[in-house]
């Protein structure tokens, strides 16, 4: 029964890995943004393919094409800067809330020129409870099906909770920006009135003394 479950999970994973793909050239960098709270695990499953002009379709990449992954957190600190093979997965955990930048580019690690080579990156990024491997939980802790279902619900609720906390942080930032704008508009109006009155007075005084000097007044 456990074996069947494992086999089923494997088959489901293979089927689930059919996410979208995008076409790139070698060394072309593609960046994605993930706006997440802190403490969230993100897993990116990817697969790269090379376009074969002879067969006019994409074939799995050879081993000498590697994927470089760079993940930057909201403070521009490097969370992940690693090289991976032509297929697999990368994972990182967010340390601070905000916009994380995930940049990928493909490079051939041997010195082969790619003149016009088209490559495809299949990408599937998951976070929260989708990152759990339930088959592993079941096998390791001998949990029942019911327990696994409840575990999934607990993970979902934790994600919702973290997102709500992040929402509170963002709302405070928004409020600060709005209050700063309000202050700036207020001070600017006062300053503008002051400058206007001051220049008016200066103009009058200057012209009066000028005309007096010219003996026109």
């Amino acid at each position: 029964m456990a074996l069947l479950l494992l086999l089923g999970q494997l088959l489901a994973l293979m089927g689930h890995g059919g996410a979208f793909y995008l076409e790139v050239r070698e060394l072309e960098e593609k960046c994605f943004i993930q706006e997440i709270p802190d403490g969230i695990v993100v897993i990116g499953n990817y697969k790269t393919e090379l376009y074969d002009p002879a067969m006019e379709k994409y074939q799995p990449s050879p081993q000498w094409i590697n994927l470089f992954v760079f993940v930057k957190d909201p403070e521009n600190k490097n969370l992940l800067a690693q090289q991976y093979g032509p297929q697999g997965s990368f994972t990182f955990t967010s340390q601070s809330p905000g916009e994380h930048q995930i940049c990928l580019h493909l490079e051939s690690i041997r010195f082969a020129l790619f003149y016009d080579g088209k490559l495809a990156i299949h990408l599937d990024m998951q976070l929260g409870e989708h990152t759990n491997d339930y088959a592993e939980f079941a096998a390791k802790d001998k949990l029942t099906q019911m327990h696994l279902r409840v575990q999934q619900l607990v993970e979902q609720v934790e994600l919702i909770q973290k997102e709500q906390e992040y929402q509170r942080w963002r709302e405070e930032r928004f409020r600060q920006t709005s209050e700063s704008t309000n202050q700036r508009v207020l001070w600017w109006s006062i300053l503008q009135t002051f400058i206007l009155v001051a220049t008016g007075v200066w103009q009058m005084q200057h012209l009066k003394s000028f005309f007096k000097a010219k003996k026109l007044v």
Partner: protein, 224 residues
């Protein structure tokens, strides 16, 4: 007699396993996935994504522009034969559901080619098929206990909560982006206007003085 009994048991066991395997294989026909991605689209650029979809799968494409310019983008969805299923220009957000009529690679593109200097951040969520069940060995026919079906309905409800949270976060990001834009514009405008005011008022005075200076030289020349 005992030989027949064991053969019967054997047949029953084989039948059970065969059924289970068949059920498993029936479950894996179409890949189902939900991908949500936020990416940056530079000005004058177009970004296309491709996905292999099997016939009969119900798919939903949803997109929203988060930052940049007038918060709009062109979107286009094509089927494997190149027929345009969905095409909208300068849309801020939209949702489109369709059922795949044929097997193949579907292509959807976002274009910012109409914009000259603003780059946009676009979020899209492409849902293909239904989410896979937690236990691949169960199928829709298998009976769930009350507890299990309660868990399934809570799971679905929480999924929609997370979905609404995402949409709320995107709207808030859009609002915040506009507010920060406004803040910097107010700062630049204040400084700029102060400078203009000073330059114009001082310039006016000196220009006026220059009028009277010329008149004075002409009058003295006439006088002598």
């Amino acid at each position: 007699m005992p030989g027949l009994g064991s053969a019967q048991r054997w047949a029953a066991a084989a039948g059970r396993w065969g059924c289970r395997l068949l059920a498993l294989l029936l479950l894996v026909p179409g890949p189902s996935s939900a991908s949500e991605i936020t990416f940056e689209l530079p000005d004058n650029a177009k970004q296309c994504f491709y996905e292999d979809i099997t016939q009969g799968t119900k798919c939903t494409l949803e997109f929203q522009v988060i930052t940049g310019g007038h918060y709009d983008v062109d979107c286009r969805l094509e089927d494997p034969d190149g027929n345009v299923l969905y095409k909208e220009m300068k849309k801020q957000y939209d949702s489109f559901t369709f059922t795949a009529s044929k097997n193949g690679t579907y292509k959807f593109c976002f274009s910012n080619e109409f914009s000259t200097f603003t780059h946009k951040t676009v979020y899209f969520d492409f849902q293909v098929g239904e989410d896979p069940p937690l236990f691949p060995s169960e199928n829709r026919v298998s009976a769930l206990t009350q507890m299990e079906s309660a868990c399934v309905s809570i799971h679905e409800a929480l999924k929609s909560v997370i979905d609404y949270q995402t949409h709320f976060r995107l709207r808030e990001a859009q609002g915040r982006s506009r507010a920060e834009d406004l803040n910097t514009r107010v700062a630049y405008w204040s400084v700029g206007e102060a400078l203009i005011l000073l330059v114009v008022s001082i310039g006016q005075v000196f220009l006026l003085k220059s009028f009277f200076s010329d008149k004075r030289t002409t009058t003295t020349r006439v006088g002598s």
